[in-house]
Symmetry: C2
Subunit: 211 residues, 2 copies
């Protein structure tokens, strides 16, 4: 594996060595598909750099955003999928440039009992994924679209570290599982309230956006 992968995982040295031996560093560009519906999963991705978004689709082709994974996070759904040899129920797409370490599925199980730090990492990850899914459910079930839109923009800001969000109304509508017209309408209201400025393919969050 490329030694330049300067990852922030808190593993014991012996495990890091194993990861460097058996893990495979892979790079992706914006929009690349790392995982897709119905495909068998044979590796588990550790995010080294960039962001990965995880989506769920229904039978009619509607997609909705579940959560983002960023540096040093992993998708524990992939983990349990690997062990059970199940097909993926979700899709994962690179958001911008992305680097991951792909851990082959046969190592996952081996390390679980061999390295406590690996077990802890996996368990923490399970917990985080559950939390994210619960947050997602809460958001969809209890919050109106305008709140969800604001939460979405905040998350984008957090991940990019910038007040300038690059996305079309259509993309946003997709990820929130609604229609473009509705998003345009809500964004326009936010603009009229002085919270944001709208440009083509860009949304600028103003200082009083959080207020």
């Amino acid at each position: 594996m490329d030694e330049s992968a300067n990852f922030a995982f808190q593993f014991e040295p012996a495990l890091i060595e194993e990861i460097e031996t058996f893990g495979e560093l892979r790079s992706f560009k914006d929009g690349d598909i790392i995982m897709d519906y119905g495909k068998y999963i044979r590796m588990m991705p550790l995010v080294v750099k960039g962001t990965l978004k995880v989506l769920k689709k229904d039978d009619n082709g509607n997609e909705i955003l579940l959560y983002y994974l960023s540096s040093s996070e992993t998708c524990s759904m992939a983990y349990s999928c690997c062990l059970e040899e199940k097909k993926s129920e979700v899709k994962a797409i690179a958001e911008g440039d992305l680097q991951i370490i792909a851990i082959p599925h046969n190592k996952l199980d081996e390390w679980l009992c061999k390295y406590p730090s690996w077990k802890n990492y996996i368990m923490r990850s399970f917990n985080e994924r559950f939390s994210e899914l619960l947050k997602s459910i809460e958001s969809i079930a209890f919050h109106k679209l305008d709140d969800r839109l604001i939460a979405y923009l905040k998350e984008k800001k957090r991940l990019s570290g910038s007040n300038l969000i690059k996305a079309s109304h259509y993309q946003i509508a997709d990820e929130l599982a609604t229609s473009r017209v509705v998003i345009s309408r809500l964004l326009k209201i936010l603009e009229n309230n002085g919270k944001i400025l709208l440009y083509r393919n860009e949304i600028k969050l103003l200082n009083n956006f959080d207020a």
Copy 2:
């Protein structure tokens, strides 16, 4: 532990012995709370008999049904909560008479590497919980209330094995996170379409309910 607990778990004999030694058989009645928001979790429940429903609440007190656990199932969210010493994000309530085996949290970790059948059980459980949460998200995000109501009634039928569902409109509304009036309205439409019959605290699913 009470030896009469005739559970259907597929564990190796040595593990069953440990479960009988360290597990604690507990009985609950309808409505008893097994787990609650914000409480620390110190045991993991294996369902022996009956059904347990798992709910999520938002800040304003609205609750929504996440999924049911029935015989030989477990809540793996409890598992990861135990290990991480986190507070519960969900509430679990007995639905009718319920028997569980409570596994103390210190054994969970020990058994993971000691008994492959335990590890498999836990991993399968993680997978099932993820699936249920994803199903829940799909249902809320993509399906209208009438579809969700029908799915809810079907699930009730599956769990009880009966066409007669005992629940008030108010209870159903709660679990689907809507209001009583809305549920009454939709149920009445189903009745007018010859799918169900309505009684006080009871709903009878007719033969063409699934059609």
